[in-house]
Symmetry: C2
Subunit: 430 residues, 2 copies
């Protein structure tokens, strides 16, 4: 029997919102936000959306009015009472009251700041300016909105059964991945796919399929809303924006050289255990580890997010040994461009030598490759990054020059300061 009221209600929708909650975001954003709120609340930053895949003309595919409606909708959101209760009352990484009262009060009153949107050629210029703790929360919803609007533009052309078969194929594809992963003894894998997901509902489906298909091998999701609703672990630690902004704020080469460690010193004070995960690649993994203070070798693990992942992990293992640490007690989290074959390969190579974990992103939550004509739903490389802090440009080098960002002169200066030599170029798929 049709529920008439529901049907009438549905027909009154003005838009179908892509992001419906302020915690429909990555857990590490909230952790970092609290850290920034405490340590650098007044830093003025600019975040900017960058489509690395120029062949996809987002401004031609996505209606500007629709994009504005979706962004405006996010600005209308505020933390609900239930969301606040969950953040305040839940145990994250084994710790109660991870989020302090002063941060939660601020967050409860937050609305996301204004955005600036312009078309340039066939791309959108979308930027966010303001206080760092506010602006940084735009990254994930902005990416999710652009990714999904591009998907909707493609889906609009399909018939009803074509649509159903499209999702049938995508489900089958994911399930085949899950059944392959099931065979890996001791696997630990989490969902890191919020930002470039196909859609919220699809991510939610993927996560639930992982729960049923992998059981305890599935360790959680980075998406707070899904973690809350499905009663799962919310996972994630920190990202490049911390060292990038700290480094931009540093005056002089000596301060710059220290900045990436200053970030982790602040983090060290706030977090323990599995939240002490080094992200070493912002200005080159090798130099970062060589010059790291000894207390950093005592951290729980490392996240490998660019460059050849096996090389990165071997570098970390060597480094731990050189500092007298036992790699068997250390955690290596792989999170860059993963799909099943790469996961299997890395698991084979490192299981038993270190504790291994995977943060599976875009090819978990948005693998529609090969499912429509011209591969029009293939994921692409969209990022939203801090590009300046207090008026000074940010720089990212990473272990793959294809992922480098920042003004050329500053990139050269950073390379010199951090002693980064030749790097291997690797194609960035997602």
């Amino acid at each position: 029997m049709a529920d008439i009221a529901t049907r009438v209600w549905n027909h009154r929708w003005k838009i179908d919102p892509i992001v419906r909650s302020l915690i429909d975001t990555d857990f590490y954003k909230l952790l970092m936000c609290q850290s920034v709120f405490r340590n650098k609340p007044d830093t003025a930053v600019t975040f900017s959306l960058i489509n690395r895949t120029k062949s996809i003309p987002l401004a031609k595919m996505i209606d500007e009015g629709e994009l504005r409606e979706q962004l405006d909708h996010v600005r209308s959101l505020s933390l609900t009472r239930g969301e606040s209760t969950w953040l305040r009352g839940n145990t994250f990484y084994g710790r109660r009251q991870m989020f302090r009262s002063d941060f939660m009060e601020w967050f409860e009153n937050l609305r996301l700041p204004a955005y600036h949107l312009e078309k340039r050629n066939d791309q959108y210029e979308l930027t966010f300016e303001g206080a760092w703790p506010e602006v940084m929360l735009w990254e994930i919803p902005a990416l999710a909105i652009l990714m999904e609007l591009r998907g909707r533009a493609v889906l609009d052309t399909l018939g009803r059964f074509e649509l159903q078969v499209l999702y049938a194929r995508a489900m089958t594809k994911l399930w085949e991945k899950i059944t392959a992963l099931r065979d890996l003894d001791g696997l630990r894998i989490a969902d890191f796919g919020t930002r470039r997901r196909h859609s919220f509902l699809w991510q939610d489906w993927c996560v639930q399929a992982m729960v049923e298909g992998l059981g305890p091998k599935f360790t959680g999701t980075s998406n707070c809303l899904i973690a809350m609703r499905q009663d799962l672990e919310a996972v994630g630690t920190n990202a490049h924006e911390l060292p990038m902004v700290y480094s931009a704020l540093a005056v002089g080469d000596d301060a710059l050289r220290r900045a990436p460690y200053d970030v982790l010193a602040d983090w060290h004070e706030e977090h323990s255990g599995n939240l002490r995960i080094i992200l070493p690649d912002t200005y080159g993994t090798k130099g970062f580890l060589e010059n790291a203070p000894d207390w950093l070798a005592g951290w729980t693990g490392i996240r490998i997010d660019s460059g050849d992942p096996a090389t990165g992990a071997e570098t970390a293992i060597d480094w731990w040994r050189s500092r007298g640490e036992d790699p068997m007690e250390k955690l290596v989290i792989f999170s860059d461009g993963l799909d099943v074959e790469k996961i299997e390969e890395l698991h084979r190579q490192f299981a038993g030598r270190v504790r291994v974990s995977f943060g599976w992103g875009t090819l978990l939550t948005n693998d529609f490759r090969g499912l429509v004509e011209d591969d029009a739903l293939a994921p692409f490389s969209l990022v939203c990054k801090a590009v300046s802090a207090d008026g000074r440009p940010t720089v990212k080098l990473s272990d793959n020059p294809e992922k480098a960002m920042g003004p050329a002169a500053e990139v050269e200066r950073y390379k010199r300061v951090f002693g980064v030599g030749e790097q291997v170029r690797m194609e960035v798929v997602v």
Copy 2:
């Protein structure tokens, strides 16, 4: 928002009925039923369920209580006012009032007669006895119930996402078939898959997918309920039970030899145009056509339901030519064990030489081959046939000895009377 009343209602279900309507059956059953109601209303027949695939132990897989509940549910059904209106008011094969008032009045008051159910070894013996027009209507629901209960026994072992992925895979599989068929110029194909379908909802999905995917190349469904609900053509003409019962009733070899033509003489009086389709294989196609009266060559077409289909069609073409008919004006309907490759092959061979049409059955509505462990959902060969009429056994020879039925002595007699020589054995899949 959950519809609370609906949910409470759902939880009060005692069973999930497999057959929910007396017109959830093949259209030709109703056509034949009307013919029998007019010409042989008092003939006492026995129909019996036969599982040709002995390796599937139905009585071990299916709970007897559940089977009885489903069969009892069918006995509780009667024609609804809307169904009656549709049968009375609709145009079938271009003709209004296909079903006469006396038949409709009888049908409106019909409840299906009792069944006899016993377990023998690992199979069910399920028989129906009584007046032919009543008993014959058990065939399709009995088959659909057994097929679906066997499927449910397998589905009960699957998790929620395994189930969803199972249907995702089945949808993808069917859609790939449909997109392949879409390329065949001038294709005409209908759904004949009610009796051995996976389930009603699945058949309904398959039919709707055919509508979207094939457009006018999809010519209708044999299922009256789906035809009514989806506003499609209900299609089908007649089946082996007519000549089988007429032949069983015939006293002496001469009468037996005439019986298959007597059936069609009755049919000739009642139907014209596209309903004048010869089903020649009951006692061997070759002999049937050679000995046929000339008026039969004037019929619209032929249905090829056993033996090698290309051979059968060539035989028919030669026969039409020998009787001075133009094969280009004749219709050949293929309906035996079809799947895409066979359809493509037959279409290639016969399109342009005769009018070609396909009645696609089990591998349209129940192709779950390869989708679960041990292929436990693969369709199998279950039939429900008239085994006696007025106490005399029926016989079917067909063009494939694997499909032959009846007491050995009677089979030999029929072979002699109808001059059936060597026949090619072909595996019966469904």
